[in-house]
């Protein structure tokens, strides 16, 4: 069945049931007036989620009122990372314990993350953006639409250029796929052309961005994409 839902025998279905069609989610979250935009950042361990979060805080922080919920295994080192980077007041960071199941905390039972987001809202009533960084997980981990309004999935070149080809809901359904650490491609024998082509093939018309935070520490492309999302009212 084509992605527009037209059926050969004369009627149409509101959604496509063809698993090979990467159709957009038609069940957009309900707009909730007065609630900050919630952006999920997911991806495998070590792909650069925390570094991207820090970069976004640096790039957006001066003019967007933002805070961060981290699901990463949390030690003072993580807090120090954001503090030392000078990007975020520790008061704007909430850590969530995931009970050793990072995907559960962002997908099946989002309670702990919603609680953390609400605590940030109570402390900073004028928040515009809450970045929710997932714990490092596998390619099947995606954010519930009840938790994240939009989500970014981060994979890295050093994890192997076959990762986009493997697919999984993270790669195929995230609102933005970021291929990170492209500066390492030549050192790990990764073929960027193949990697990017695979990513586009798996994602249809959904956007793919490549970046190296070594070369562009403020993640200008991703920051620009986030600004676009913030400019659109939720649910539109």
């Amino acid at each position: 069945m084509p992605p527009d839902g037209h059926h050969p025998h004369g009627h149409r279905h509101p959604v496509s049931f063809d698993p090979t069609v990467t159709d957009h989610d038609r069940h957009e979250p309900t707009p909730l007036p007065g609630r900050p935009f919630r952006l999920g950042i997911g991806g495998p361990v070590g792909s650069g989620k925390t570094a991207l979060t820090a970069a976004l805080c640096r790039a957006l922080g001066p003019d967007v009122n933002l805070a961060v919920v981290t699901n990463d295994i949390y030690t003072t080192e993580d807090a120090d990372f954001l503090r030392a980077a000078g990007v975020l007041d520790p008061d704007r960071v909430e850590a969530v314990q995931t009970g050793a199941c990072p995907h559960t905390a962002i997908r099946d039972d989002i309670t702990a993350n919603l609680d953390a987001a609400e605590r940030l809202q109570e402390r900073h009533p004028d928040l515009e953006l809450i970045i929710i960084e997932s714990g490092g997980d596998n390619l099947t981990a995606v954010f519930s639409r009840g938790l994240a309004d939009r989500q970014i999935f981060v994979v890295d070149v050093a994890g192997g250029d076959k990762v986009p080809r493997k697919g999984g809901p993270g790669v195929t359904t995230a609102d933005l796929l970021v291929i990170n650490k492209v500066d390492l491609a030549e050192h790990v024998g990764a073929d960027m052309t193949v990697m990017v082509a695979d990513a586009h093939r798996m994602r249809g018309d959904r956007p793919v961005t490549t970046q190296s935070l070594t070369r562009t520490p403020d993640a200008p492309d991703v920051a620009g994409w986030v600004r676009q999302q913030l400019a659109v009212p939720l649910g539109v």
């Binding site: 314990q97 009970g99 099946d108 039972d109 919603l114």
Partner: protein, 231 residues
């Protein structure tokens, strides 16, 4: 033993998949594992038995009392909530109970909304988990006994699952240990249901100093270290 009415609600409330945030609480198992107190399935058996008889019983008694109160209308939720505070000496445990109560309120508002739930939240702010559970059980049309059963079961099912995740225990063996508590859980639910009508101050108050100490140690020692569970 009573016949369970509205069994689906009872099963859903007891289900580990109920999205109420329970999966991030280990009920002391994370600290017990870190301290070397629970390392094997046999250790887990002893731990769960003790937890069911103490924290589990307290939780079951207050869940049953809340179901009874919600069904009969006349209750001072602040008093019931405060009496559970008084039976929970560890601040970390009180916080864990209120955090799970908040999560259950969120799930309950979507699945079993009721005026009693609204009143409970309006009066207490962040009610203890067993009170929320009891009120939801009443809204679902079931009895204090079933609320006590769920509360007692949850007092050991979550910690058992946490032990599997933290220690890599054989899940079949851990499940068998959990199921061995069946008779104890029935007796506990019977007792809790029989006491549900008592004034809050007269409800039982079993102590579990070891669990209190584990909860406090978890809170203090793990602030600077990796913590995978909230309690």
């Amino acid at each position: 033993m009573p016949t369970i009415r509205n069994g689906l609600a009872v099963l859903a409330l007891a289900d580990a998949r109920l999205p109420n945030g329970g999966h991030v609480h280990s009920g002391g198992v994370e600290q017990a594992a870190a301290s070397g107190l629970v390392t094997t399935v046999e250790d887990l058996r002893e731990f769960l038995y003790g937890r069911l008889r103490s924290a589990g019983f307290t939780s079951a008694v207050f869940a049953a009392a809340a179901t009874h109160a919600a069904a009969n209308g006349e209750v001072d939720w602040l008093v019931l909530d405060a009496e559970l505070d008084a039976r929970t000496p560890s601040p970390a445990q009180r916080e864990a109970s209120r955090a799970q109560g908040r999560g259950l309120v969120r799930a309950g508002r979507a699945a079993w909304p009721s005026p009693a739930l609204d009143t409970l939240v309006a009066v207490t702010g962040r009610p203890h988990h067993p009170l929320v559970l009891g009120v939801l059980a009443a809204a679902a049309g079931t009895e204090p006994w079933a609320a006590a059963l769920v509360a007692g079961y949850q007092s050991v099912s979550g910690p058992s699952s946490a032990a599997v995740r933290l220690l890599g225990l054989d899940p079949f063996a851990a499940n068998a240990v959990l199921v061995d508590l069946s008779g104890e859980l029935d007796r506990l639910a019977d007792t809790a249901a029989a006491l549900a009508h008592l004034p809050p101050g007269d409800l039982p108050a079993p102590g579990s100093p070891a669990l209190d100490l584990l909860a406090e140690a978890h809170h203090h020692h793990h602030r600077e270290e990796v913590r995978l569970f909230a309690s």
